[in-house]
Symmetry: C2
Subunit: 342 residues, 2 copies
DNA sequence: AATTAGCACTCGGTGTCGTTGAGTGCTAAT
DNA sequence: ATTAGCACTCAACGACACCGAGTGCTAATT
């Protein structure tokens, strides 16, 4: 790839930044005004013309200004963006926003998503710690009435799920005892993803006692484990996307898309890198061709586990958003780790 | 109010139904085609003209067909709508949709909202059982590590909330004991809405022992009680609204509005009636002037407590949606009551 | 060789104008 | 009370001209 000279870089950066700011194609005069470059508009035009030829800029039509192409955004993000550190204000907002939820991992993730969506005016996606390294740490059975009990499940990374369970047979202390035996023997310490109805049935059958009365309890445990294992992805601030005029009528389609869980799971699956930036078509989904995705992993006690990120128009404020996402994921990872340590 | 003769009623009903179906203003010929009325278009025109004068119909402009006015919708809903019973198909869809969640009140509500949104292609709003009759029934403190514990709170109407809590001081059995004493004395049986930081401080101070170590626990309990008391309103299927062309650019504003919690709380506050239908401006919010709200209460063990409903364009299919909402709330009320009974 | 001034050219956006056609309102006949 | 007939209205649509921001090119300048 032919390297760009200094001035071309400067022009490319300015076009990107100006376009992000105003949303309008930027012309040669405007560009001189906002950079203070000491050359004439004709020179800028020549350079821009070359940048178009190289694929970094695009022209909506002959007599319009220039707009960054996908390649242009990519080059900007990789080489031209100045600030790689979060600025004071955003850091404060993040800190203040999630401080109230510091104790509880799940609330922390939820809050993190909300804060991020607010901050970036984009949609946020966040996933609670999960994956195969998530083990079942504790299960509690609390009798409520003769036929009702509440079940609580806690995983190794601090996710807590609870639900009521209605029994057909009375909840005797003997039943409780048997329940705990089964839990102790076959569930605790196992990955949440391995608990399912089939495996439980064999276990329940092997224990003597009233396996019929045990059934609803086991079913409920499976249900809890399942819902924990496929830890739901939280979508926040999706209505923010409607505010971006470049989506127009596509907004409906995009929101539709984001509300389906399968593709979103795929979107969040990151590569090896700690932070992943996918611009426009770099996303594999047609529905995201005008969007950019920025997702970062956070780790709890050293394991890579959860993900937090944003989805917004390709014309998003990368310079501000990327450091924010990076900072937020780091912080969330630290806080959860801290909440869980002995 | 001057009563309408039979034919005028028939015409009004037909205009409403046709407009709901097509979204286009309906003209006199079209109306004859779709009703099979044995009169000429001129007669229909005369009648429609009077219906406009009486305020039941509106004319977007002189040479266009007629559109129901707010008053027209109201008259239709109150007097003309045929089916007041849910039809077989919708009933089945609802039954199938929420059966999987029957055991647990909170999941039931969530699911009910999802099902309703799917069914009606509108946004759904649903509120878990709540209000002043919601008492705190049980609080459990389960030690997890030396400095961490999980807290679980259960209310009289089956809402379960849990969170982790990190302590500054080690969690001794003495501390647990003191905690349960306080809970027993000052929390159990109280309405969730009455538990707050101020009231807890006086209680904690009056108990001897290490009130400093108790602080995080009490704070967490308050937090749980608070989040339970103002039981969050769930908004489902909001992206459905984008599919309705009549909203157009207003859709963004509407979604914005729906995502604020204060006004939504107000929207859901019903009167004395079991089901409330508010059409267009009958809603007190300007943002809902082109929308209708249908909300119904469900009762748990006889108390009026929760609410489920839909928000959609005034041009919604009342004939199908109203019975569905009514059926769903009844069902949810019965299922929760059943899940809670001894 | 790079830069610049000057200028003709392009083309989306906007406003005007006439045409079209669905649907009405009115009048006179039934 | 109903209906046939007819003139009228007005949004929607396409054609057309105009404007102006911004370009590309050429020739002059450094």
């Amino acid at each position: 790839m032919a390297e760009l000279n200094e001035r071309k870089k400067q022009i490319l950066a300015a076009v990107v930044e100006q376009f992000i700011k105003t949303g309008e194609p930027v012309g040669s005069k405007e560009l001189i005004a906002c950079t203070g470059l000491k050359v004439s508009s004709a020179t800028v035009r020549n350079d821009m013309s070359e940048l178009v030829a190289l694929g970094y800029l695009e022209q909506p039509h002959t007599s319009a200004g220039r707009v960054p192409s996908q390649k242009g955004y990519r080059y900007y993000v990789d080489h031209l963006m100045k600030s790689r550190e979060i600025d004071e204000l955003n850091r404060r907002l993040i800190d203040a926003g999630i401080s109230s939820a510091a104790g509880d991992p799940e609330r922390l993730i939820t809050r993190a998503g909300e804060v991020l969506a607010d901050l970036t005016k984009c949609a946020s996606i966040s996933k609670a710690p999960g994956g195969d390294s998530m083990l079942i740490r504790k299960i509690e059975l609390v009798p409520i009435g003769i036929h009702t009990a509440m079940l609580v499940l806690l995983t190794s990374n601090g996710i807590l799920k609870s639900r009521l369970c209605r029994l057909d047979a009375p909840l005797t202390s003997k039943l409780c005892e048997e329940f705990y035996n089964i839990v102790q023997a076959a569930i605790l310490g196992k990955p949440a993803s391995e608990i399912n109805v089939a495996s439980m049935q064999t276990v329940a059958a092997s224990v003597d006692g009233d396996s019929f009365a045990m059934l609803p309890l086991m079913a409920a445990v499976c249900e809890l484990a399942r819902s924990t294992a496929q830890s739901r992805i939280l979508l926040g601030g999706s209505s923010n996307l409607l505010g971006h005029k470049e989506y127009g009528a596509q907004a409906a389609e995009l929101l539709e898309f984001l509300n389906k869980s399968e593709p979103i799971t795929e979107v969040m699956r990151g590569g090896a890198r700690p932070i992943e930036i996918r611009i426009g078509r770099e996303n594999l989904y047609r529905q995201l061709e005008n969007s950019s995705v920025i997702v970062a992993k956070y780790s709890v006690s050293g394991d890579d586990t959860g993900t937090i990120g944003v989805i917004g128009p390709t014309r998003m404020d990368y310079e501000r958003i990327i450091p924010s996402v990076r900072y937020l994921t780091d912080l969330v990872g630290r806080l959860i780790t801290q909440a869980l340590e002995e």
